[in-house]
Symmetry: C2
Subunit: 424 residues, 2 copies
């Protein structure tokens, strides 16, 4: 199946490349040409040709940290602090969730990802086997991360999932991970360290999300969570952390040394009053920053435009400097760094050989006018109304406000309402 997307403005996100007018050609799920029109291979016939009408193509947004299946709890228990919310509202309900529940609830999140131009998600949630099914059937690129902790599952299950769920389908993967320092005993962390050494695997985890959590680790171990994990060899093969709101400079030194990434979740951190992550400090240290929505119960929505604006707006407030973290830096976090923070390196730019995870931004909307600077327009003024098309793995799953016919939208809505009623 070959495709041609022509009459477009193209923002490749390849370092040093400016936006230009041209076209993209695709064969199956890979990009075969990016450049001016007419292409060198003008005259070639394509199975499908899409006129982009002067709109912008860029690599899809990467939601590098989320808990998709938590759609069940949207608007259920807001305005609470993190520990009350988790212990009293979320954990008791999650205990009642079945793999099938997670399957449908994940699909609900995927619908929202499409409307927001998100083409891949880093998903730490229950029942990875049913998330695998949901992703493959839906067509969502999903890099799962183990959320192992002292309540489960076993190390054997983690190892089995790592072996079974990787390389089974090009859309889905499974990364080594633990939920957080505060939900794992030291012995468990040591066993995980052995496992990642066996597979030479990078590790991902929630870290230093709240001040309390960060300080309690220091009380417990005499060192920060970052330093503790380093001392246990958990960063020996890289990886990264989610949140990192309270990381100190010494933590950033470890991150730089180990090549770790940080995924910031600004809406969730604001809504739970966890704080503002030190984005400018990470960037100055040369640490790659990516962006995540976190789960739809703490955020509550899965809107990458809101996250992108928050990254820069909150940095400007935190640094008391309107020059902090400019628009192009934010776009790089959203399109490029987010892929890397999921250990994906084939969908971070529009270039020959890369995966065709592409979105189209509608410039014929009032919030995109006048057209003085397209990347600033996207980051400072963009909204989900500007997502004219979302393509994952070469397939158009969302276009002009409509989902692809292969997606059973009404069934997803109905199943999720039923599940939510049961869990309430």
């Amino acid at each position: 199946m070959t495709k041609r997307l022509y009459n477009a403005k193209i923002l490749t996100m390849v370092p040093g490349e400016d936006i230009f007018d041209g076209e993209i050609q695709i064969d199956g799920n890979r990009i075969t040409y990016v450049g001016k029109s007419p292409a060198e291979n003008a005259g070639t016939k394509f199975d499908e040709e899409i006129d982009c009408e002067g709109n912008v193509l860029l690599p899809g947004f990467k939601n590098a940290h989320t808990h998709s299946g938590m759609t069940a709890f949207r608007s259920l228990a807001d305005d609470l602090n993190l520990q009350d919310w988790l212990n009293n509202e979320i954990f008791p309900r999650e205990a009642k969730m079945t793999p099938e529940d997670v399957y449908w609830l994940s699909k609900l999140a995927y619908l929202e990802y499409l409307t927001s131009g998100i083409t891949a998600c880093g998903d730490m949630y229950l029942t990875p086997e049913s998330i695998y099914d949901a992703s493959v059937e839906f067509g969502m690129r999903c890099q799962m991360v183990s959320g192992l902790n002292k309540f489960g599952p076993t190390l054997e299950v983690l190892e089995r999932r790592y072996n079974e769920l990787n390389n089974k389908n090009g859309l889905v993967g499974f990364l080594m991970g633990v939920h957080a320092e505060y939900t794992c005993e030291k012995e468990l962390l040591e066993s995980v360290s052995e496992l990642i050494h066996k597979y030479k695997a990078p590790l991902y985890t929630h870290m230093s999300e709240t001040k309390t959590e960060h300080e309690e680790c220091i009380k417990r171990y005499g060192m920060t969570p970052m330093a503790l994990f380093d001392s246990l060899g958990l960063w020996d093969f890289g990886g990264g952390i989610y949140h990192g709101v309270w990381c100190e400079e010494s933590d950033m030194d470890i991150m730089k040394k180990r090549g770790l990434r940080v995924v910031t979740n600004p809406a969730s951190n604001a809504k739970l009053a966890s704080g503002i992550a030190p984005i400018e400090a990470y960037l100055e240290k040369g640490i790659e920053v990516a962006i995540g929505t976190d789960g739809p119960s703490s955020n509550n929505c899965l809107d990458f435009f809101r996250e992108m604006f928050l990254v820069t707006a909150l940095a400007k407030i935190k640094e008391n400097d309107p020059k902090a973290v400019d628009a192009m830096e934010v776009l790089k976090m959203a399109c490029v760094n987010g892929a890397h923070a999921m250990e994906l390196f084939d969908n971070d730019a529009l270039a020959v050989g890369k995966l065709a995870d592409i979105i189209m931004i509608d410039l014929y909307q009032p919030n995109m006018r006048p057209i003085l600077n397209i990347s600033k327009n996207i980051v400072y003024s963009g909204s989900k109304t500007n997502i004219k098309m979302t393509m994952i793995d070469g397939k158009v799953l969302y276009k002009n406000g409509q989902f692809n016919d292969t997606i059973e939208v009404d069934e997803i809505y109905n199943k999720c309402e039923e599940i939510t009623k049961r869990l309430r």
Copy 2:
């Protein structure tokens, strides 16, 4: 012209009224019935009947402080502090703007207001006569505010505009105002005070937006801007302030005593690193808080969903308390208080006799599912994609992503690109 909006969930924003299933009837530009279906007058014929398909009707959002015509400068000069941005980038270009420029640039903003469910704007900008024409032709409810300062216009012009532009058309009004303390000599403020006493008129102004501005006034006069205006009798007939990021408790006492309102502009204040306004403190004092986008050059977009989320998210960060400023409070600011902060009292709720400024929220979008709490869904998860209809003064101006045929969208886009090129 009579209309019936049926099969709806209705959030009237009348204090104490819960959301219910029902219908709204309209005659001309006024609401004639709000209640259960079938109405008491079942059997009446209507000129138009709109099936709301189970979606939500609520009063339109009120953008209580903006500079609509600044669309020309969107993405032109970002990442600068307020004074550099104003003095070096904005003022020199504004000096070249014609009334016709402002006419087209305002219409571009109005398009964006419609996509965001904004049914009225409080607009402080150049050339009120051409803004009047733009609003009336477009059908946008616009309450203009004088931006008088030491560079112009004269007091005579202000008085003439006050007399001529009020009560000329039900959609448009003109309020007394000055740009700010720091752009007005004391003698000018004294003359404005005489004028507002002549007309017993409330006054609106930018105030305490930046720390520098607030502190320089204290140096100059030995008192805060709020206290200075009070000492000059400028609050004798009420009114309000825009921004109020740095107001002190004593300022709030004056505001409470004088019945003043504050319009917060969270995106603009964040982007310019001006700070986070003390919303919780205003609410505790019993001061009505409204929301504005500020102009599209400092924000840069005119998206009320982004503003609503920022109001609550930034309050939670500022207070270090996830319970600060809940969703229903934010909706009240957006739909009700915003009207009052424009001195409008006929469009703040869905009730018999009120103006038909109504929006419809699309629940058949993934970000609105599941439906556990509609006001939380709107504030925490809502986006412009959920605006299914925007009605102003009884006329549907935007529906299902399309603007009304009476609106010349392409001409607005083209004129604004031309104007922007000339001003660049």
